[in-house]
Symmetry: C2
Subunit: 226 residues, 2 copies
Amino acid sequence: MSTPILPRRRPGRPPRLDSSGQDGRERLLRAGLELLTERAFHSVGLEELLGRAGVPRGSFYHYYASKDDFGLEAVDAYGRYFAARLDRRLLAPGRSPLDRLADFVADAEAGMARHGFRRGCLIGNLGQEMGGLADDFRLRIEAVFQDWEARLADCLSAAVAAGQLAPETDCPRWAHLFWIGWEGAVLRARLVRNGAPLRLFFETFLAALPRPPSFPAEETPCSTPS
Amino acid sequence: MSTPILPRRRPGRPPRLDSSGQDGRERLLRAGLELLTERAFHSVGLEELLGRAGVPRGSFYHYYASKDDFGLEAVDAYGRYFAARLDRRLLAPGRSPLDRLADFVADAEAGMARHGFRRGCLIGNLGQEMGGLADDFRLRIEAVFQDWEARLADCLSAAVAAGQLAPETDCPRWAHLFWIGWEGAVLRARLVRNGAPLRLFFETFLAALPRPPSFPAEETPCSTPS
């Protein structure tokens, strides 16, 4: 969770830097991402957000038109942040494609463990409270999932090319399935405060992936990431 | 969602019936379950709840010590309501165990479709916003999942006994995995407003279940429920 989050700037709106050199907009976003990975959007008040970001009261509407506008920006920022985190693992050189996916899972579990399994996925959190959010959120959240799925589908296609998966593997389908199950596993890991649900899900996912006919069933395709 | 919800009464607290003969406590609970399958607990205000339940202002604290007390009761009530709904399918006579599970999945999808895929699982919703809820909630929500898992594990054991699953099937493990993935699938079905994620998850779950050696892999064990 230590990757810097760099929000996309709106054209023609130069950043306002405070004494620490940080843009208030960026500090609000960073504080928001911390709060929204733990809690419901509705439970986060503007006062709390401003206090955490160290941004003076009254500045909020300088940066954002509304709390929803802020929330939508947070969805995009988290989507980009997490996409970069995914790519760091899924595009890592010197590892087989399925090992790279296993590295991502181990990395995500370690990240959750660092926060005592209190933080989840901002996209999953917001997706869950969707009934109470504007329709914009639904579309934006689904777009983030589709972006993550495309990255994973590419990794699975690389696994097909490397002979780790069967040639007929429907990579987009399996990538879709991964994110469906992953969000459920993150939810459950937070409930039990440990990584067992993440591991159970991933282990079953790996075992269910179609293997090439010559692939020996007993051999584990992924070494445990270090 | 039309099964009547009958909250467990507290000892020594007789129900107050209104002109419609319904207990205010029960009406609050029913309104709460409707609201909390759609939205975040934090976004549901007492005013809205009272209005929806048709319970006069000021009565809330006659029934519940706090909003959290109400939320915990809602978790239990939903847990029982859904357990009954599960059992109706999982214990249905005249169907094979895996067909009964398929019936539950079809029933759940039809239930979501009736509400335009706007309502999800109250337990999943509350579980997701857990970071902002008292620790009581976490334990109570996990207990509900474990109860549902035990019911499903019994159904899977019946499938082993019926020769639909391999004798060595770890039924509690697969039941745990089912609920992990199911909650993710419900979340996603609400985002895309259709049942495809539920079906994709269940289809993959069924295909991944360990089959007895003699079971022909090409044969679909579950007929499509009518």
